[in-house]
């Protein structure tokens, strides 16, 4: 039992972003255990992107095809994983909304312990160990599991890597299952914006913006990054109805780990930090030099956001050659 199974997320017939990061985690773990990495993709027919999973770290790609996989079908995925899970040391999933939904169901179905939202997974004397933030990121817990473990790995915790190999593709059967929840579809938000949890750059606004329409300043800054930036927000402005819930970063919002997080007019309350302190680089723009956000920021500008943000937008545009 040294092999690792990765449950790869797909939506609408294409592998989701994040599969490669998950395979990096799995590859490292399998190498420590001296085992193999299998990537399981549940889809309808062939799924776009499976060709790249070998290069990303999978030794084998297992494909399970069923009409039920046109939407998220938890019972069908659980049944499929359950049919193969016995041979693995660990089952890895991405800790996305879907992965977090699926991991505990799977753990209960295969009678395995479960570690959620982990930032590192390793093997110590053959046992799977995980590291995970707890208490809203105010403490770090290390857990060790005995037997097969189900582990959901936080997006952004591992880099995506390419090994250059191609994985062999095999199909697995979808066993009989009882659908209990019927997913009818996913409505995209009115504005087709990038999700804060998936963006390379997050530009987050807080109460310092003063009025909801001033989010336009942040949208302009995000746009300057050319499609790789999303607009996030503190809870204060979400609760005030200035921006939709999905944009909220923090303890009661999303956890994000972008390469660059720009906090604009955000004070840096402990609950906000809980969602963004693992960003690679943090920039704070705040007119209060004592704002707590400066304690976690790599770079800070003390000043009025209404002057600083447009200047920064112009500078980013210039740097990107726009």
């Amino acid at each position: 039992m040294a092999d690792i199974l990765c449950v790869i997320e797909q939506r609408g017939g294409a592998v989701r972003k994040g599969a490669n990061e998950l395979l990096t985690a799995a590859r490292q773990l399998a190498d420590q255990l001296g085992g193999r990495v299998d990537a399981l993709v549940c889809g309808v027919g062939s799924v776009n992107g499976i060709d790249a999973l070998g290069a990303a770290g999978a030794d084998r790609v297992l494909t399970a095809s069923h009409d039920a996989f046109a939407q998220y079908a938890p019972e069908a995925i659980v049944a499929t994983v359950q049919s193969v899970a016995g041979q693995y040391a660990a089952v890895l999933l991405a800790a996305t909304a879907t992965g977090k939904d699926l991991a505990p169901r799977l753990a209960a179905a295969i009678d395995a312990p479960c570690g959620m939202d982990v930032t590192a997974v390793t093997a110590v004397n053959g046992a799977v160990r995980v590291v995970r933030p707890v208490y809203a990121g105010k403490a770090i817990q290390t857990l060790e599991f005995s037997g097969t473990a189900v582990v959901a790995v936080r997006p952004g915790a591992y880099p995506a890597a390419a090994s250059g190999k191609a994985g062999a593709v095999e199909s697995v059967a979808v066993p009989a299952f009882t659908p209990r929840l019927t997913v009818t579809g996913i409505a995209a938000p009115e504005k087709a914006t990038l999700d804060v949890a998936e963006a390379r750059v997050v530009v987050a606004g807080g109460r310092g913006l003063g009025e909801p329409q001033h989010f336009g300043l942040l949208e302009a800054l995000a746009a300057a990054f050319g499609g790789e930036a999303a607009v996030g927000a503190s809870r204060a402005v979400v609760d005030a109805g200035w921006i939709e819930h999905g944009a909220q970063v923090g303890q009661t919002g999303k956890t994000v780990a972008p390469e660059l997080y720009i906090a604009v007019g955000v004070s840096g309350a402990i609950q906000h930090l809980a969602g963004m302190r693992t960003a690679r680089t943090i920039v704070a723009i705040n007119r209060d030099k004592d704002a707590p956000i400066f304690k976690v920021a790599d770079y800070g500008i003390v000043g009025d956001l209404f002057e600083v943000v447009p200047a920064l937008t112009a500078a980013v545009k210039a740097a990107k050659g726009q």
Binding site: R16, Y72, M116, P133, K295, V308, A315
Partner: protein, 249 residues
């Protein structure tokens, strides 16, 4: 409609965390405990559904030591009808805890079993979905809308890049996210009434744990950053830092 709401007692979110001398848990000295914030969305949803139906019962259920009874009184003060304290010591193994809850809930005749999506202490994020699986019930996690009509429930949940809609037959299990509702505050009348509401105590034991807490530690401090300057004049210095030092541009 009979609705169970499972409740956790957690440190107040603003509490400063210190590690206890055992190195695997927090030092609880001086820490204020509150109902898990996400469980409050579950409590509100349960109470509102019961009230809208004009009949039925809400039951708050908590697994833990005796201190949890104080937290359960907050739920009773919000309007929940009665409580069941599953008295015992929760395990580091979430599945062992889910079994304790599932074993109690199995024959309770509940149409709905509600949880918060996550407890803000150990961030386990697994109990609700595990209980559903153990009971063989439909389940949706982190829901932001819930409509119950007849024997079915319609829910939405936020996923990356959109809002997922789903429906299922009751009985069902849901875990609740922010956005579902605005939890009510217990009023004075509720607090008085809560004292007289029934709170049954059922001794329980969690099964063997396959999870060991190896350590609990404070996170590494982020390296102190620097203020690159003041006002718009500081933008070139920031751009230089982002390009050459941080290499994120």
């Amino acid at each position: 409609m009979k609705i169970a709401i499972c409740l956790r007692r957690v440190p107040d979110t603003t509490a400063k965390i210190a590690i206890a001398s055992n190195g695997t848990s927090i030092d609880e000295t001086g820490v204020k405990f509150v109902p898990n914030p996400y469980d409050e969305y579950a409590l509100e949803a349960g109470i509102a559904l019961r009230d809208a139906a004009g009949a039925g019962e809400t039951v708050v259920i908590a697994f833990g030591g005796d201190a949890v009874q104080e937290t359960m009184r907050t739920a009773l003060a919000m309007g929940v009808d009665r409580g069941v304290h599953l008295q015992g010591t929760p395990s580091a193994d979430g599945l062992a805890n889910a079994r304790v809850l599932a074993d109690h809930l199995r024959d309770g005749g509940y149409d709905l079993i509600l949880f918060g999506k996550v407890a803000v202490d150990d961030y386990g994020q697994q109990t609700g979905a595990m209980v559903a699986e153990l009971l063989g019930r439909p389940c949706a996690t982190a829901i932001t809308a819930l409509v119950v009509e007849g024997g079915t429930a319609k829910v939405t949940r936020e996923v990356e890049g959109g809002v997922e809609s789903a429906h299922c037959a009751l009985p069902a299990v849901f875990t609740c996210d922010k956005g579902l509702n605005t939890p009510r505050l217990p009023g004075l009348k509720g607090i008085m009434a809560a004292k007289k509401k029934p709170l049954d105590i059922v001794p329980t034991t969690a099964g063997d744990s396959r999870v060991t807490i190896v350590s609990l530690a404070l996170p590494p401090e982020r390296q102190a950053g620097r203020i690159v300057g003041e006002g718009a004049a500081a933008v070139p210095a920031l751009m230089a830092a982002l390009t050459t030092e941080a290499k994120v541009l």
